[in-house]
């Protein structure tokens, strides 16, 4: 009898049932070939379910609190309230771990591994971006020769919200010469009375060009007035505090900014701790139409300089920008005309040296990916105003996408020592990561 049973186990219904089970269990696997729309729906449903559960618990918690407050004897714990309502803060929901994610399949879904990609602490990581800038030059320049090609700088940025009251922005420059902190400041966004305050290392708001990051320029280089007045980088930055206030009125956007810095930068030098750099700016802006607008500002900066302890430099500037960008064709056509005039009064041993410089620039977008610019430069040298450099540039830029640019610039410079340089500059700029938009 036992041998008959053994035989039926091996040959009868059992193997057929086994095969049937395998076939049936294979079917759901095939049907699970991902269908993106259904997958999105499922994820949406899961998310909604979680939110609903969270809301239910929150509601229960709030009702418990209400009940507790209404009774005069707080010691009498509300017994009717559900057990999980006891804490005042709603319990965190249990996240259903999506199939395929780390930890799926464990009992109730196990937690992500420390150091893993899904760790929730990474959700607070700042926006990070790296913008590379490779420049080169061909042609003859005996006064300020440039290498045939060089990696100018990578701007690395870290930007994020600090807390409900402030955000922080860090901009580092990585170049073959080293790393520099260009800007690193906290911005208090929740101050009253129309105030905005920044504290940290930053570019003083002198004119327009000093605060423009290299990747936001429409030329390979910076205007002569910037390199003559601010130092060879064409910008100056310092550690300090900047407070700006909206001056509300019915006619235009009016903003006044006052800044105080430590006094050491490529323009100024502080010989004593109380020798600071002061800067101020008044900016007015008005829409002329949906497409056109005008932006005018005036700036001043004062601080001691490298001549000596009792010598100071004052900078003053006026800037004007006209923009035209028809809204319905905004991605194809725009025009910008900008000029900045600057004056420098530099205290020197033989008296004050007064220098003047300016640039006038026009940018035009020819097509979705093509931009052209023309710029005129004139700049006296702050230390020796009788020496003046002049220049003219024509630039064409191609944008394969929003995230990279290829640029060619013809630059003719007539230096003060009667030397003329004709150069062709080129530039490749490319960015990865999330870089926030800059101030208009």
């Amino acid at each position: 009898m036992s041998s008959r049973n053994e035989r039926s186990w091996a040959t009868g219904w059992f193997p057929a049932a086994l095969v049937a089970m395998c076939v049936l269990s294979a079917v759901p696997v095939r049907a699970q070939t991902p269908d993106p729309a259904a997958q999105a729906m499922r994820e949406e449903l899961t998310r909604l379910r979680q939110e609903f559960e969270a809301l239910k618990q929150q509601n229960a918690a709030l009702e418990a609190r209400l009940a507790a407050l209404e009774t005069t004897a707080p010691a009498a714990a509300p017994p009717a309230a559900p057990a999980q309502a006891a804490p005042a803060v709603p319990l965190p929901t249990e996240a259903a771990v999506p199939a395929g994610a780390t930890g799926a399949g464990g009992p109730g879904g196990s937690l992500p591994v420390y150091g893993g990609a899904n760790l929730s602490s990474k959700v607070f990581n700042p926006d990070m971006a790296v913008i590379g800038n490779v420049v080169g030059a061909a042609g003859k320049n005996d006064v300020q020769p440039s290498p045939g090609i060089r990696f100018d700088e990578a701007e690395v940025s870290f930007q994020s919200v600090v807390d409900p009251y402030a955000r922080a922005d860090f901009f580092l420059g990585f170049s073959p010469e080293g790393v520099s902190l260009e800007e690193g400041y906290i911005t208090f966004t929740a101050l009253p009375a129309g105030l905005l305050m920044k504290v940290g290392e930053m570019y003083p708001q002198f004119g327009k060009i000093n605060t423009q990051h290299t990747h936001a320029l429409s030329w390979v280089d910076r205007p002569l007035v910037a390199t003559n007045f601010f130092g060879e980088d064409g910008q100056f930055h310092d550690a300090g505090v900047s407070v700006s206030k909206l001056l509300l009125n019915p006619w235009l956007f009016l903003e006044a900014t006052g800044e105080v810095f430590s006094g050491n930068s490529s323009v100024f030098e502080s010989h004593e701790p109380d020798q600071l750099t002061y800067a101020g700016r008044l900016r007015g802006y008005r829409d002329l139409s949906d497409a056109a607008n005008l932006d005018i500002g005036t700036s001043v900066a004062y601080g001691h300089n490298d001549v000596g302890i009792s010598y100071a430099t004052t900078l003053a500037g006026v800037d004007a920008t006209f923009r035209y960008r028809p809204l319905a064709r905004a991605i194809y056509r725009r025009f910008l005309a900008r000029t900045e005039l600057m004056w420098s009064r530099r205290g020197q041993e033989d008296g004050n040296a007064n220098a003047f410089g300016f640039y006038a620039n026009g940018d035009y977008q020819l097509a979705r990916r093509w931009f052209a610019s023309v710029r005129f430069d004139y700049a006296e040298r702050p230390g020796a105003p009788s020496l003046a450099d002049k220049g003219v540039s024509a630039v064409v830029t191609y944008w394969p996408s929003e995230f990279s640019q290829i640029r060619g610039q013809y630059r003719r410079t007539r230096y003060a020592q009667q030397v003329t340089a004709n150069e062709f500059l080129f530039q490749f700029q490319f960015s990865i990561g999330a870089h926030g938009a800059h101030v208009f």
Partner: protein, 295 residues
């Protein structure tokens, strides 16, 4: 800190990033709100200039309503930072992201890189183009307005109910009008129509852009023309802020028709509110379908 309710009869000043949100705020808020939109309906909402005049609007706002899903990421954050208005900061109680309760399509799964073009990692942000989502957005607005002005909660509730009813009636008409063309194959310029096409049963078989945010290229255009001929596609849907040169060339080659629909309230002059937006789009579509004999 308690949220200060505005005095009894002062209208709530609302700033919305797009005219669609502004239209929905107007529907729910009625005369208790004064609403303005930053972006115009006929401009590309990804590329709005962060003008200082917008800072002034945000500074005086009691409520900011945004589309979210990174649609405004290229221009709105510096405006909010400079607005000097603590309540409309993203963490504040007067910042409303309309996408949080809406049905979002095309949420990518798997790896995302910019090799795929200008992709939206949080899903397609043009979600207002669906009456269902219109309802969900309006509901979120109603809740937020009721928080700001609790004494008017009943008014907002009544206005929402009225909007809901009118929308349900209108939706029946639009669905009925589009029903004969269910499954119709179309091509769109940019990937900004999934909610609309899903809702009205259209099948988007290709895009004029080779990838989102990348302008048309000759090789992709050729492929698209061949595909359109193979599938007998007669309709190309375009937004008013794109250049019609390539779509026109495609239309000439395939015998298709280019129609410029309104992607937003204000996107065409007839689309003056949320209802007229769909009226214009549905009617223009149906007229073009009939004239081209598309199936």
């Amino acid at each position: 800190m308690m949220a200060m309710a505005p005095p009894a009869r002062a209208a709530i000043k609302v700033v919305a990033t797009t005219e669609d949100l502004a239209a929905l705020v107007q529907e729910v808020g009625g005369d208790r709100v004064q609403v303005e939109a930053l972006a115009r309906g006929y401009q590309d909402p990804h590329f709005v200039e962060p003008k200082p005049s917008f800072i002034l609007k945000l500074h005086g706002a009691d409520l900011l309503v945004v589309v979210g899903r990174e649609l405004e990421i290229g221009w709105l954050p510096p405006l909010i930072t400079q607005a000097r208005n603590s309540r409309i900061q993203q963490s504040g109680d007067r910042y409303l992201d309309a996408s949080l309760t809406a049905h979002i399509l095309e949420i990518p799964t798997g790896e995302i890189t910019r090799a795929m073009g200008d992709v939206h990692p949080l899903g397609n942000p043009h979600y207002w183009l669906s009456p269902d989502n219109g309802r969900l957005i309006a509901r979120a607005i109603q809740k937020k307005l009721s928080e700001i002005a609790p004494t008017d909660a009943a008014y907002f509730a009544q206005r929402y109910a009225d909007f809901d009813r009118r929308l349900a009636d209108a939706e029946k008409r639009w669905t009925a009008a589009m029903a004969p063309y269910k499954g119709l194959k179309v091509v769109t310029y940019h990937r900004s129509w999934p909610n609309f096409t899903d809702g009205f049963g259209l099948d988007v078989i290709g895009y004029v852009e080779p990838k989102p945010g990348i302008p048309p290229s000759p090789s992709h255009t050729l492929e698209l023309i061949q595909e359109m001929k193979r599938q007998q596609v007669k309709i190309i849907i375009m937004e008013p802020y794109f250049d019609s040169k390539t779509p026109d060339a495609i239309a000439r080659d395939t015998g298709a028709r280019v129609i410029v629909l309104a992607p937003s309230v204000g996107g065409q002059k007839e689309a003056t509110d949320y209802f007229k937006l769909f009226e214009y789009d549905v009617n223009t579509l149906i007229t073009a379908i009939k004239e081209t004999g598309a199936k």
